[in-house]
């Protein structure tokens, strides 16, 4: 196989070449709306969990919204998305309905998996969202398989495979990296580095803390991206999709981001200080960044409030549906085991 011409900077590491390209007002408004939807949805999910309406594990995405929203803005219909268990934001970004996602969280028949998957296991073939996987790192091999299918079928779709800084230490990630580069598969590995794998800080778990370099021994280029700035994410995603569609094989994007909430719901948060969380919230919040730019550009507070109101309405309707929709029929116990 001929080695294609590389069109993306090969060097890994910090690229802080000024601020990212500006968004149009339309893009800013879309980014704001999509990030707000995720945040309000997750806040509501936390609330419903507190009321006992959601059971088991529930991993909230609050703080990381710019990553999925920025990535999604660079994708085209047909591109696949797959991720781990902190997945509600990815589904909403893929344009899956808030109602169906929330009803899955409450285990009702109107949920995306008819109540049989729960928070960590949801899919939408229609929206090219391939889950929702509960085993840390498993989605990396699966996402590589989606890219394999793209290559096999000769389409120009790209598989966007998300995983965290914790999953980045799993063995199958590197087995997948090797095959992806060997076979030049169109896959963007998005490493969402939110600094903590459950309660373990990156510095306590990772010998190489620059995740953009994790593909170096496979010749996979990588880039560190400010994952709190949706414009930076979108710009990196544009480059990465072009790289993959150009037949150059995989690429790694390390998104430097932060999770405000606990790992799951019962997280005593002893591994970081309240001040650290507050500081990120105050200085880097992805939604506030867009809001402030829009206000500075002359958009009225009232217009922004209208967006918030629209989003709250969607989320409230979803929560209402998710609490009143019936549980699955008992006959569903034995359906969907075989086709």
């Amino acid at each position: 196989m001929a080695t294609p011409k590389k069109t993306v900077a090969k060097e890994s590491g910090q690229e802080k070449a000024g601020s990212p390209p500006e968004f149009s007002r339309e893009q800013e408004l879309k980014a704001l709306r999509d990030m707000l939807l995720i945040r309000r949805f997750e806040e509501k999910a936390g609330q419903l969990y507190g009321m006992g309406a959601i059971g088991g594990f529930c991993h909230l995405y609050i703080g990381q919204e710019a990553v999925v929203v920025g990535m999604q803005m660079a994708l085209k219909p047909g591109d696949e998305v797959i991720t781990g268990y902190r997945d509600h934001g990815h589904m909403l970004a893929c344009d899956m309905e808030a109602k169906g996602v929330m009803a899955e969280l409450t285990g009702r028949r109107g949920g995306y998996s008819r109540g049989k998957g729960g928070s960590m296991h949801m899919f939408s073939k229609e929206k090219h969202f391939y889950g929702g996987h509960g085993i840390v790192g498993a989605q990396v091999s699966l996402g590589t398989g989606l890219a394999f299918a793209n290559r096999y079928s000769g389409n120009d779709n790209v598989s966007v495979t998300y995983f965290g800084d914790g999953a980045a230490n799993q063995g199958q990630v590197y087995e997948s990296f090797n095959m992806a580069e060997l076979w030049k598969l169109p896959v963007i590995y998005v490493i969402e580095n939110n600094r903590y794998a459950m309660g373990t800080a990156v510095s306590r778990a990772s010998a190489q803390q620059d995740f953009s370099k994790r593909g170096v021994s496979f010749n996979i280029p990588g880039k560190q991206v400010d994952g709190m700035d949706v414009r930076a994410v979108k710009a990196a995603a544009d480059e990465a999709t072009a790289w993959c569609r150009g037949g150059n094989g995989p690429i790694i994007l390390e998104m430097q981001t932060y999770r405000y909430r606990g790992h799951s719901m019962s997280d005593p948060a002893k591994y970081r200080t309240r001040e650290e969380v507050e500081k990120v919230r105050h200085d880097q919040d992805p939604i506030e960044q867009v809001r402030n730019r829009l206000l500075a550009a002359g958009v009225s507070e009232q217009d922004l409030k209208a967006i918030d109101a629209e989003v709250r309405e969607i989320v409230n309707a979803a929560a209402d549906f998710a609490q009143h929709d019936p549980e699955p029929d008992p006959s569903e116990l034995y359906t969907d085991i075989y086709r």
């Binding site: 936390g46 008819r114 949801m122």
Partner: protein, 464 residues
Amino acid sequence: MPIQVLMPALSPTMEKGNLAKWLKKEGETIKSGDVIAEIETDKATMEVEATDEGTLGKILIPEGTADVAVNTPIATILADGESAADLAKAPAAPVPQPKAAEAPAAEAKAEAPQPAAKVPAAPVSEALPDPEIPAGTEMVTQTIREALRDAMAEEMRRDGDVFIMGEEVAEYQGAYKVTQGLLQEFGARRVIDTPITEHGFAGVGVGAAMAGLKPIVEFMTWNFAMQAIDQIINSAAKTLYMSGGQMGCSIVFRGPNGAAARVAAQHSQDYAAWYSQIPGLKVIAPYSAADYKGLLKAAIRDPNPVVFLENEMLYGHTGEVPKLPDFVVPIGKARIARAGKDVTIVSWAMGMSYALKAADELAKEGIEAEVIDLRTIRPMDTETIINSVKKTGRAVTVEEGWQQSGVGSEVASRIMEHAFDYLDAPVARVSGKDVPMPYAANLEKLALPSVAEVVAAAKAVSYR
């Protein structure tokens, strides 16, 4: 309207907690995300974040209160423009209880208390009979290795979405020569050598299947597939269920299983029982050349994940395979390999070689054994087993795998459940011994079942 803050459940098991501390006072402004209180549970002290914005109107549960039940209102938040006078308007905010789905109409005799919904009956799988082989059909004598290769080649010709990947399947022509010639016919796009990374390429195969392709994933042996077992079980077998039927996975995992010869413990293990436990998987372990071909073709066409267990010792065995344009054997149907009336011997795969030889021996002593080749381990053809046991009243299972929680144990349980009154003797199990496979030739022989053990078991259940 003022918003009530309820005592939150902070873990899946929490029912009550202590309100340790209020971090906001009445009248203070609250933003979404502000920590308003600390709660102690049996596990830890945790912070309660506000999810609504406004002013803390009234604290309903003072700090220091122990054992506050989840969902008890603990405070009220006033929205913009509201005052203390609005506090009385706060709703009780009941949590709607999930409506339990109605029990089937026949049982819905509105009597309180409502009985718990009845567990629906598990579906019974019904397999089709074997395809008819028209009189005069030419029978081809071929090795099992060739039968497998032909099955794959025919299915690859038939469906462009079928491809094979694995270690040494292409240029080397297969570690056991099962894929011989496939690279030459189908090219490197569809016959793919992988690096030695079972976990990774099993996951790549499952991902490709989720996208709609129909991979055949060859493991050089099933021993190495233990590296990949998470992808086989957690990703391939469970996704259809977890996606509410949206996303299935048409994939075949195949390769040699069970004891080979003199390769010791790590390379000699039978996985039939392991995989047969998993709902969502189909598990096939054939014995005859015709079944190897017909069942592999069925497995490749099946829309579900299939574990196809072959046997290295059988690859070179020959058998008669009908020369038909499309010979497919249905999954889930056992075959009566030898008819008899005195004792039923149930086996599959390599176990069949002991069972059939034992049946010959038994015949010399006037015992006519009926030998059933299960062929498919999951779904298991209970009906064929039970019908035979009802006739013979006696049963012996034969397998190379270990006895504890083995497939033979499952067969014995089903006989007990469905034909207890027909049994004239307890079911006997012949199996591999409860040891890791030894290397020394004499010990290895002792660790495996033998024809003599099967004969002895059949005579024991016949009281002879």
